[in-house]
């Protein structure tokens, strides 16, 4: 028998109470863990999205609200448009390596499912370095390139002539299927720009322009030039790095506040554990007296109770990590619905250091929480073991 075994067995005395205290720690740790996992996931997700977009600067029409970038990333219907002639001016700005025009529309069916059509020119390939196309990009008017998710959902095969969802009596030939990019592109249907403009009746208009710079470090200068050109007075130039920076700082500060509250939760759990152990010690007074009578020293008793507390906290932490793991999917869905600008990748990232951090926190909590009960237990006089006569206090 070891010290750990001995203290562990004492747990089982009041299973319900111990479980409740453990559950408290578990919940708090689950929250803390999810928080830690989330924040690194969000950052990685954002970076991934930025990379996948392939653009450094986004040119959108005027008057569009702040989430223009979000629309470009995730697909939506645009309320306003750019004139196609702006494209030439943008191309003429020094520092611009590629300016890829895009016309994007989202159509909704009766169930609220979204189909996003994206009209592009072939120079989009210069931006989308990560694309792997089985087949070839669309060249003629009725050809389409579909993302892997879209293909799966509608059960389309390469070379098939398919009805275009949301568009009455229109069909297209699938000339290419994208390998999964783990991004929004997987759900888009790409077609030639002119085709899209014609289909949706916005000739010579664009929804946005994706701009890739020759030198990404020269962002501010290039943005100033873009804004300074003639067309610059009629369009919004959005440097994506800045936008993500703003969001990142917002997320960071949120994270800080969330972290503080999670710590409060953990402390509350610690108080609960301390309380539970205090009660246990009070109840077990006689047994502790017996242990002292048969030769346990004060330090021995202290160690026992202390270990018990640490064990409770540690098992709570392990349970908490488990809970976080199980609920991570639904948690992610919920977070995505709450936060604007959530990247499409999984937000919650699993890293072992998170797990260790939480476990160490729990052990520290246990050490602190166990101190008072252990001290109380150690100070119990052994006389409690022997039934004292009625006349004695």
């Amino acid at each position: 028998m070891t010290w750990l075994e001995l203290s562990f067995k004492e747990w089982q005395r009041r299973p319900l109470r111990t479980c409740v205290a453990t559950a408290g720690v578990a919940i708090a740790v689950a929250a803390l863990f999810s928080l830690l996992a989330f924040q690194s996931g969000y950052r990685e997700g954002m970076r991934g999205e930025l990379d996948r977009l392939g653009a450094h600067v986004l040119v959108v029409p005027k008057g569009c609200p702040y989430d223009a970038a979000s629309m470009a990333l995730h697909g939506a219907s645009w309320p306003c448009y750019l004139k196609q002639r702006f494209l030439d001016e943008v191309r003429g700005v020094p520092g611009v390596a590629t300016a890829a025009p895009v016309f994007m529309t989202a159509l909704y069916d009766a169930l609220g499912n979204q189909t996003v059509y994206v009209g592009v020119e072939t120079n989009i390939l210069a931006l989308k370095r990560g694309w792997r196309i089985t087949g070839r990009p669309p060249e003629r008017d009725d050809e389409v390139l579909v993302g892997s998710e879209a293909a799966r959902r509608h059960d389309w095969q390469l070379g098939e002539k398919v009805p275009l969802p949301g568009l009455r009596e229109r069909s297209g030939t699938v000339t290419g299927v994208l390998a999964p990019t783990h991004g929004a592109d997987d759900t888009f249907i790409h077609l030639p720009l002119s085709s899209a403009q014609r289909l949706f009746k916005h000739k010579d208009e664009l929804t946005h322009i994706l701009v890739r710079l020759a030198d990404p470090d020269d962002l501010d200068h290039a943005v100033a030039l873009l804004r300074g050109c003639d067309a610059g007075l009629a369009m919004n130039v959005v440097p994506l790095a800045h936008v993500f920076h703003t969001i990142r700082s917002l997320v960071n500060s949120t994270r800080l506040m969330l972290g503080c509250i999670a710590l409060v939760a953990l402390l509350v759990a610690g108080a609960g554990v301390s309380n539970t152990l205090l009660m246990a010690v009070a109840e077990r007074g006689r047994d502790i007296g017996v242990l002292r009578a048969i030769g346990a020293s004060r330090g021995d008793i202290f160690r026992l109770v202390w270990l018990e507390t640490i064990q409770v906290c540690l098992s709570g932490a392990i349970a908490g990590v488990g809970i976080a793991f199980i609920t991570s999917r639904s948690l992610e869905t919920w977070v995505r619905s709450t936060l604007p600008f959530a990247p499409t990748e999984t937000l919650i990232h699993w890293q072992w250091w998170n797990v260790w951090a939480c476990l160490i926190c729990a052990i520290a909590l246990g050490c602190a929480a166990g101190f008072l009960p252990a001290w109380r237990a150690a100070r119990m006089p052994p006389m409690v073991a022997i039934r004292t006569g009625k006349a004695l206090a």
Partner: protein, 386 residues
């Protein structure tokens, strides 16, 4: 009954204190959140309501980003040309178009940024609360400054005093001090438009044009027309407030959910405490039953103890929130953009009621099982040893 429950709890002070403190901390944060959200929304809508304008012409780019930059004292990425002002004044639907130039001079050692606003007389029409506490109601000359009441306090200036702006090297004379308006104007430094443009090197540029329409129903057509003004875009205050509130709302939802976690843990603590108390007092409770207490009365007793615990938790929590709230507010203001200068943490009666209500609910939930256990004790179980 109440007295009995109270005495029972006081018997084990440490235990009760621990359980109460746990719940109290969680409730304190809850109260802060509630108060903050309420205060922020109110302050923002107060500001937008009072402005009496239907839309603003702002430079291209992200308005949110621009606002954040101005607040931090960074120069704007872009600004409006004065031609935008002329274009809006020419529009038939526009009643008043007031130009504004905003800039900030950061004072890192004092932990704040001074906000300077350049105006011309048209702005007066849009600021009905512009009342001067002391001094002249408008700029007598170009080198004058009118201070919001809080700004005047901080700078310790009265009308007639000199005000030197070290960052811009401008010498100004305080022409007047405004009465408290309860808006962000209270902490601003107002100068004539030309002066501001000169001070910050923004000749012929503007930060925004505030527009009031002849008839609010003309909003859409006016927007479409003015959208065409080169170098500018239309933004309606409700839109902007909406965006901020959205973001803040999202943050709040997340914060609330974690607070719920904390409260759940607190409830578990109360549960454990009560359960232990019931088990400990088996004999006592059985004796009470033997003397004629009914099951529901015993159950009530335990529930009362639960409610007392959570009630104490609520009270302590609210106290904590009131005391610690100001510190938290200072921290939060640094993070949240466009934080109105009014105190955000307003503990209204409604907030208090919500906290107490939540506390009571927590008490009922926590006490459910222990009360049930207690009520099922048979009368006077012979006092056997454990």
């Amino acid at each position: 009954m109440l007295l009995l429950a109270f005495r029972n709890l006081v018997r084990r002070p440490l235990r009760s204190a621990l359980a109460v403190s746990g719940l109290a901390s969680a409730l304190a944060v809850f109260a802060c959140l509630l108060a903050f959200g309420h205060g922020y929304r109110r302050a923002l809508s107060a500001e937008s309501d009072r402005m009496g304008l239907q839309m603003m012409l702002v430079p291209l780019g992200c308005p949110y980003d621009a606002a954040a930059r101005v607040l931090k004292g960074k120069s704007l990425e872009n600004s409006l040309p004065e031609s935008a002002l002329e274009a809006s004044r020419r529009d038939p639907a526009v009643a008043i178009a007031a130009p504004i130039l905003m800039a900030a001079t950061p004072r890192p050692d004092q932990g704040r940024a001074d906000m300077w606003v350049g105006l011309d007389e048209t702005a007066l029409a849009l600021k009905p609360w512009w009342r001067v506490k002391a001094g002249k109601p408008w700029f007598p000359d170009d080198d004058s400054v009118i201070l919001g009441c809080d700004a005047a306090e901080v700078e310790m200036r009265a009308p007639g005093d000199r005000l030197h702006s070290p960052e811009t090297g401008q010498e100004l004379r305080v022409a007047g001090v405004l009465e408290r308006s309860g808006t962000s104007d209270d902490s601003l430094f107002f100068v004539p438009l030309r002066t501001a443009q000169r001070m910050f090197g923004q000749e012929n540029r503007l930060t925004a044009v505030a527009i009031r329409l002849r008839d609010p129903a003309l909003l859409r057509e006016a927007s479409e027309r003015l959208q065409g003004v080169p170098g500018a875009q239309i933004v309606t205050p409700t839109e902007m407030m909406g965006t901020f509130l959205n973001l803040v709302g999202a943050v709040r939802t997340l914060l609330f959910s974690i607070v719920l976690v904390a409260m759940a843990v607190g409830v578990l603590g109360v549960f454990n405490t009560l359960l232990a108390a019931v088990v400990e007092r088996t004999n006592e409770l059985s004796v009470m039953r033997a003397f004629g207490a009914s099951r529901s009365q015993i159950g009530c007793l335990i529930t009362t103890e639960a409610l007392l615990l959570t009630g104490a938790g609520s009270a302590v929590g609210i106290l904590l929130a009131m005391v610690g709230g100001h510190g938290i507010e200072k921290v939060v203001k640094q993070f949240v953009p466009l934080a109105p200068t009014e105190p955000l943490l307003t503990l209204t009666a409604w907030t208090l009621a919500q906290c107490v209500g939540v506390g009571a609910l927590a008490g009922v939930v926590a006490g459910l099982y222990p009360a049930w256990r207690a009520s099922r004790l048979p009368p006077a179980e012979a006092s056997k040893a454990e």
